[in-house]
Amino acid sequence: METLAMHISNGIINGPVAGVFAAVALAALTFCVLRGRRDLDDRLAPMAGLVAAFIFAVQMLNFPIFTAGVSGHLLGGALAALLVGPWVGALCVSVVLIVQALVFGDGGVAMLGLNITNMALLGTAAAYLLIAGLLRVLPRTPTGLAVTAFVSALVSVVVASQGFVVQYWLGGTTDLGGNLAGLAGTMAGVHLLIGIGEGLITATTVATVAKVRPDLVYALRALKPATAPAPVPAVGGVR
């Protein structure tokens, strides 16, 4: 088998831009550690380790997306945000990307900041904003949760793909002859299809966890509907 690269390889984005995004990612991850510690207790910590390991496993499972010769794989931001929250979730995806870059030769080490920004930060943030909104308006049923998971996962993949387009605009190494919109369109189209797969995997996984151990689904704990024990105003969702 030839190379099995799934993330941005070395040389695609120039060094200075990659360096800037490494700094951005480092700062954001530090913030995630500080905020995530509030969520991390004896129950969430092992669960977060599992989520990272599970995302690593499922990222290996490239699935066909029914356009010739193209595959897709899970990014995991929405799955992590649903199960362990946005802050710890972003850390989970980052751990996966770091292990892949440092041990499996997937995603350039110099490109790690770019990959973390797109998949761990942008993907998870977009997913959790949607999760927080959808879980409030949709009924608290298994279907409501599955729809939330599907939609947030799908959108998060497209958002992450456009993060790459911005990075390429800033520091792409090959002149596209002004056709950045072409790259944006190609990336969005392909990742819309990949997003369907991401949505199905995320919805299936979260629905399964919610059925077996609903108390282990962060989003269901943190985003209480109006019947929360303390009459907190409805804005306290993102903790």
Binding site: G49, M60, G72, Y168, T174, T186, I194
Partner: protein, 135 residues
């Protein structure tokens, strides 16, 4: 009453090991969404190597750790492709769990960090969780 999550975590880990260790061999080997988008404009041969044209992927360089024993999700020295991919997946899942789980376990709030309901620290005994300190 809080339930412990270790049983669930063990079961989940088993699922992840099966996915990475066995199912991974049935994954599509086509380039993924990013790779295929970056190849647009170039012509490629059967091995997805660029043979001509102009596309974002043409300036790609080798990975810093392309010689890693686990590079490209295989184990160097294991000739059986099924075994090589599967074992690398198993190693990856265990490694990710160890790194992630270890990091999160170290970062977690100890019971002593947050005073118990009666105002005094709840102590270090991991098995004694005061009810009501959820999240």
């Amino acid at each position: 009453m809080r339930k412990r999550s270790w049983g669930f975590v063990a079961a989940g880990l088993l699922v992840a090991l099966l996915l990475a260790g066995v199912v991974s061999n049935y994954a599509s080997s086509h380039p993924d969404g990013l790779d295929s988008s970056l190849l647009k404009g170039c012509t490629v041969n059967a091995d997805d190597e660029i043979t001509g044209g102009s596309c974002p992927a043409q300036r790609a360089r080798d990975h810093e750790l392309a010689d890693s024993p686990l590079a490209d999700y295989g184990i160097r020295g294991v000739d059986n492709g099924f075994l090589s991919t599967g074992l690398s997946g198993v190693v990856g899942v265990l490694l990710t769990f160890a790194v992630g789980g270890g990091l999160f376990w170290l970062l977690r709030r100890r019971p002593a960090d947050t005073p118990g309901p009666d105002g005094r620290p709840a102590g270090h005994d991991d098995d004694r969780q005061p009810a009501g300190t959820v999240g």
